[in-house]
């Protein structure tokens, strides 16, 4: 009986675990986008095994630090249930025009509040199933290169986080414009769910005239 109990514990996750998983997914997802869209030179990436895939992650110290800082904060917000959406915006450095928008919509199941950590409340969803769903989303991100237009200019990226109005905002963060694309086409991607957080992905890009 004890063994069975432990096994179910191993396979299910708490709110903290879910926030960890989701922010980890963002790390690999964002790295994949940066590599696949050629925002940084391919030499600055290294291969890493994750979700049963081999993914490219950045070795550039600046980018790495930036991602770690942002994702650590996002993890805190995820635990508090304050983040609604994460958007990766690709802009043209010279004209500041927004060219691409990778949108990750996050839904938080309110029954898993901060209280649930103390209670040790866990979900029934198997970690393997969650990782499989994440793998499918990352595969789709990779496959997007086949239809997205070429980014034929020097590009930069930025991460926007949509939070609740009453979320605590650290000093290092500031308000931003939503950075919409004036003439865009939207493609919906697969979604995944840890059964605490549900993440729906979609990419919108500028249509060439």
């Amino acid at each position: 009986m004890e063994a069975v109990k432990q096994e179910t514990c191993n396979n299910s996750i708490t709110l903290k675990g879910s926030a960890q998983l989701v922010s980890e997914f963002f790390y690999y997802g964002i790295n994949s986008i940066l590599y696949q869209r050629g925002i940084y030179p391919p030499e600055s990436f290294t291969l890493k095994q994750q979700y049963g895939l081999t993914l490219y992650t950045t070795t550039d110290k600046g980018v790495k630090d930036y991602l770690n800082n942002v994702l650590a904060q996002i993890k805190d917000w995820l635990e508090a249930g304050n983040v609604q959406r994460l958007v990766l915006v690709v802009t043209n450095v010279d004209t500041k025009e927004v060219l691409e928008r990778w949108d990750f919509d996050i839904q938080h199941d309110p029954s898993y509040g901060p209280q649930s950590i103390k209670e040790g409340k866990v979900t029934g969803k198997d970690l393997k199933v969650i990782q499989k769903e994440m793998r499918d989303v990352i595969r789709q991100i990779t496959a997007c290169v086949t239809f997205l237009p070429l980014l034929d200019c020097v590009c930069a990226f930025d991460l926007l986080v949509y939070t609740h109005k009453n979320a605590e905002v650290p000093e290092k963060w500031s308000e931003s414009a939503p950075c919409f694309i004036s003439n865009s086409q939207e493609v919906r991607l697969k979604s995944f769910s840890t059964s605490i957080h549900k993440v729906e992905a979609c990419v919108s890009y500028k249509i060439d005239q």
Partner: protein, 489 residues
Amino acid sequence: MSHLQFDANLNEALRMDGELTRGPIPRWQRKAQEQGIHSLNVNENSPYGQNTQWKSGIGILFIPNRSTTDLERSHHLLVSSMEASGGEKSEADELSLQQKEYQEKMSENLNDGQPQESRILSFKSKAPQAKEGYVNNLKVLYSAGKPTVPKAASVRHIPSVPEKVLDAPELLDDYYLHLLDWSVNNHLAVALSSSVYIWNAGDGAITPLVQLEAPDYVCSLSWIEEGNILAMGVSSGVTKLWDVGQQKLVRTMGGHQNRVTTLSWSSYILSSGSRSGQIFHHDVRIADHHVATLSGHTQEVCGLQWSPDGRHLGSGGNDNQVNIWEKGSTTPLHTLTEHQAAVKAVAWCPWQNNLLATGGGTADRTIRIWNCTTGICLKDVQTNSQPSVLQVSSVLWSSHYKELISGHGFSNNQLTLWKYPTMAKVADLTGHTGRVLKLCMSPDGQMVVSAAADETIRMWKCWGVDKKDKKQAGSGKGHPISMLARTIR
């Protein structure tokens, strides 16, 4: 003003402690009047409270005790709630419901579908930009310009035009299918949608073999090593074996739920990969032909090849994985996930048994060479160093030279010859106007045939052997594999 009057009336009606001035006379009064009793005494000492009436002959009439009810407060609450709803009403008058809805929608749209209680934040110190002078090398995906790549020195003449061009009407432009195979008897089998034709490379005769009934179409072709039996994977999930010499259907083998996209023979074992991701081994000699199921892929299997020594099977799938299976095993020896796109091109090296070459789709654009014993990637040709590798649809190893040929899609639709192991480019063979779908080698190893989405089949004499060389090859010289090495195992 009518609503003010209404309010006054309502207030009056709602006052519970006021005198009843309207409405029908209560029953007890009516009865009393009928019986001639005109005055009602309020009995102060009544046990039922001051408002209780006791009248003999009429019966007990109970009026609840209201002393505990805070009438003032109830009235205030009622009235104030009425006022509140009234206030909203008047606001709604100014701004009709439709307008309000419109405003909400507008602000939602302006805010990207978010209700306004969210705020958009970004980290103040931004990520560093890519270093200056960096040009997005994905350009190769879109541009049609010829890339400049250092070429390997080659002493032999490689004709840049095809030896022969065959017309292939209705050849399906589907990356996952294998519609071409060349037998040891010099027969080239081609699947054009639902029909299969055999082109005799010796005399150029064309024989129609079979025409399937719609909506079935042929997904894959593979000749048995002896060259007399052609295996045919059909979209309905069955695999058919045809005796080509007698033009006779020998056997139909079911099992797959989905189309059979790829086939590979290893003596009497025919392996078939399906859209479901499963690979079946069929022993074609026995009645119960389905002898093993390999389920290592989660999506369509699009590349399948037995090694020349029959000890390993290499499979590539739409799940971007390459699996290497040992003969007789149903769990993969190695699962290689380095490719970033579907792997259709799978080829074993004819002169070194443990070398496997694989090529990925558009998102990957890489040719990788693996050591199948260790599962280590020995070489990878990527867009970084060779901006000419695009969607790889097929890879073949030469049996005469230490070279590989790869077929590509988009922009140039070319075939590229590579030196092994330096992976320097020897030549580009261009001519196709649609993406190259499949490559096959002639039985003598000198010619390569390519089928492309432009509905043509072209033959390239890229590995031609001079007569002089041939003599040397016969004596074991000038040949990559000496006869001695071939016999020693």
